[in-house]
């Protein structure tokens, strides 16, 4: 076997590489959504924010020739979308889910509109750190080219997990999410907290979008997201609103998504549609195994409109 043929080893390697490459947008969007939902709101608009973030990052990177400025612009665009959602939801009788859906369509539509002139030009990509230098197998090196955003996402999930338990800000977000009345009694303004939480959530989703257009797959097209933002919102429930769980779920989704192409590449060519359904089948199995008929969903914030 020569160096270019790795045979069946390609499958676990592709799952590992896929988990690292594909999971990053899921990590950022689901962490953002975890913050928002912990404060008692659901922002379904993150799919739109993701697409708009991808477009903004690409456009700014093309114009300034700096992917970092693109990333920053995407975060700000996401922040703006989040704050907009938070601001509208402050009014009486406004349904956060409906606004989320509206913002999802609005974000995508706006991104398509402004993004037209940026489909053709090429933007500079975000750099990757080669962790595979120890290996002389090119496939391993390629799989271990890790983008800094993935590492930031990993660190961020630990920080958030810790912060929700141990910091004042984390506890404020949680109390607002669990009971508006209790929060008001403590002298907190739930609307302000939720506004900020949705804003931060949007900014993280914008960064997730920047990863899509500036690193992997690394170009701006209108089909860049294909529903990843929505999937990430669902991951938060799957992860029981736990940031570490979000990270793990994102890895699982990324890895399972790489299974289909990897199996075909080693010659397992029958039934690829079934392999493409692997992430969803896996989710279903885990949901069924971990669910219980005798207790309610553990960890769900009490103020969420779906649990109220």
């Amino acid at each position: 076997m020569d160096a270019t043929e790795i045979g069946l080893w390609g499958v676990p390697l592709a799952i590992l590489g896929g988990a690292i490459r594909v999971s990053t947008p899921f990590i950022f969007v689901s962490l953002g959504e975890a913050i928002t939902e912990r404060s008692g709101r659901i922002n379904l608009g993150l799919e739109g924010t993701l697409v708009f973030g991808a477009m903004t990052a690409y456009a700014v990177a093309v114009m300034t020739n700096s992917p970092w400025l693109g990333l920053l612009a995407a975060a700000f665009a996401g922040l703006f979308f989040g704050l907009f959602h938070g601001w509208i939801c402050k009014f009486r009788g406004v349904n956060d889910i409906a606004i989320g859906i509206a913002l999802m369509l609005f974000g995508s539509g706006l991104a398509f509109f402004f993004g037209k002139p940026f489909i053709k030009p090429k933007a500079p990509n975000l750099p990757a750190i080669p962790f595979g230098g120890w290996s002389d197998i090119p496939q391993v090196q390629a799989a271990l080219d890790v983008n800094v955003l993935f590492l930031i996402g990993a660190v961020l999930s630990v920080i958030l997990w810790w912060a929700f338990r141990n910091t004042r800000a984390g506890l404020i977000v949680r109390v607002v999410g669990d009971s508006s009345d209790a929060a008001r009694a403590m002298g907190l303004n739930p609307d302000t907290v939720r506004l900020l939480a949705t804003g931060v959530g949007g900014a993280l989703a914008g960064i997730g979008g920047a990863y899509l257009s500036l690193y992997y797959p690394g170009s701006w097209t209108e089909r860049i997201s294909s529903g990843q933002g929505l999937m990430a919102v669902a991951l938060v429930i799957f992860a029981r609103w736990n940031p570490l769980g979000c990270f793990a779920a994102a890895l699982l989704f990324g890895g399972a998504g790489a299974l289909g192409p990897a199996l075909q590449s080693v010659g397992v060519t029958q039934g690829y549609y079934l392999f493409y359904a692997a992430p969803y089948i896996l989710t279903l199995i885990i949901m069924i195994v971990t669910s219980s008929p005798t207790r309610t969903l553990a960890g769900a914030p009490g103020e969420l409109s779906i649990t109220k």
Binding site: T4, E5, I6, G7, G10, L13, A14, G17, G18, R21, V22, G109, F112, K116, I119, K120, K122, P138, Q139, A142, A143, L212, Y216, P217, G218, S219, T221, E222, R223, I224, S226, Q228, G257, A258, G260, P261, A262, Q264, S265, V266, G267, T269, Q270, G271, Y272, Y273, Y276
Partner: protein, 375 residues
Amino acid sequence: MTDRFLLSRRQLLKTSAAGAALGLASAAFPVSRAFAASATVGFIYVGPKDDYGYNQAHAEGAATLKAIEGITVVEEENVPETVDVQKTMESMINLDGASLIFPTSFGYFDPHMLAMCAKFPNVQFRHCGGMWDKAKHPMNAGSYFGYIGMGQYLNGVVAGHTSKTKKLGFVAAKPIPQVLLNINSFLLGARSVDPTITCQVIFTGEWSLAVKEAEATNALVDQGADVITCHVDSPKVVVETAAGRGAFVCGYHANQSPLAPEKYLTGAEWNWAKVYKMFVDDLVAGTPLPNFTRGGLADGFVKMSPLGPAVGEAGRKQFDATLAEMMKGGFAVIKGPLKSNKGAVVATAGQAFPETAIELESMDYLVEGVVGSTA
């Protein structure tokens, strides 16, 4: 949805403005001017019309019609292959007065376009693909397609000369006849250089899934493929990912060489402008439109991207010779003896299917040497 409302409002504004202008004009110039024959032509795309690929190729063709006097082009992009496309067709007919519609995506045909054909017998529908069958389908429908498999054969010739690992990679969307023919042609082109070459195919299951296409490309390169081509709606992601991993690429649909100037070998491109002009000329002249339109390299329906800097002397020579052979007509990519990769005989010795052979439009096999499965 919003698009359609906009369309109707825009149309309303346009019509009322035109009405007002006409009123003014007829008041000012009582002698009316004879108008050239006018018609509205509708184009429907499944994706964005600047995707470096399938939809862009059609939109570029449509754009050339706008220069023809009396022809109005209406377009709608990102229309899913669902009942949505029926609504789009209805609004193009009822609101814009379209008399000829080109639903350009494969899945628009059955049942959507057929339903509209029955509902609007005076409107002409021409579908891109090979679905129209005289025995089964109405006469106001039709299909047009180009023999782009020839282009993939030429891609294969160049790939065969360039590959060092003797393994090629193909990222494909769905196992339909046109895609299978492209995969088979690509491999057979390469095997005309070296009969030991194999081609690994990965089906993504959808026409446009950026992340999955990138994963598929990475998986192919991981398995040692060093020349990659594809049949997806937007080859941009495949081309960039493959070039990023150091593999060579052959393009498809449109010219993607600006995306990877060093790694781009050549590409099979559409030239729809020619086809659409043909249809519209017939429409303006009032002659019946053909129902079954096909053409290849010699007819100008298909063209090749200029050869890239990585193509060697031997590759260039065989490319030019094969292209010249194809331009004469009658060139057969699928010719016996040939087996499918499941061992079934698809062409016996002496049997040849030139590009015009209708049997090729119902292809359901991958030839020997292609690693992959149609289901």
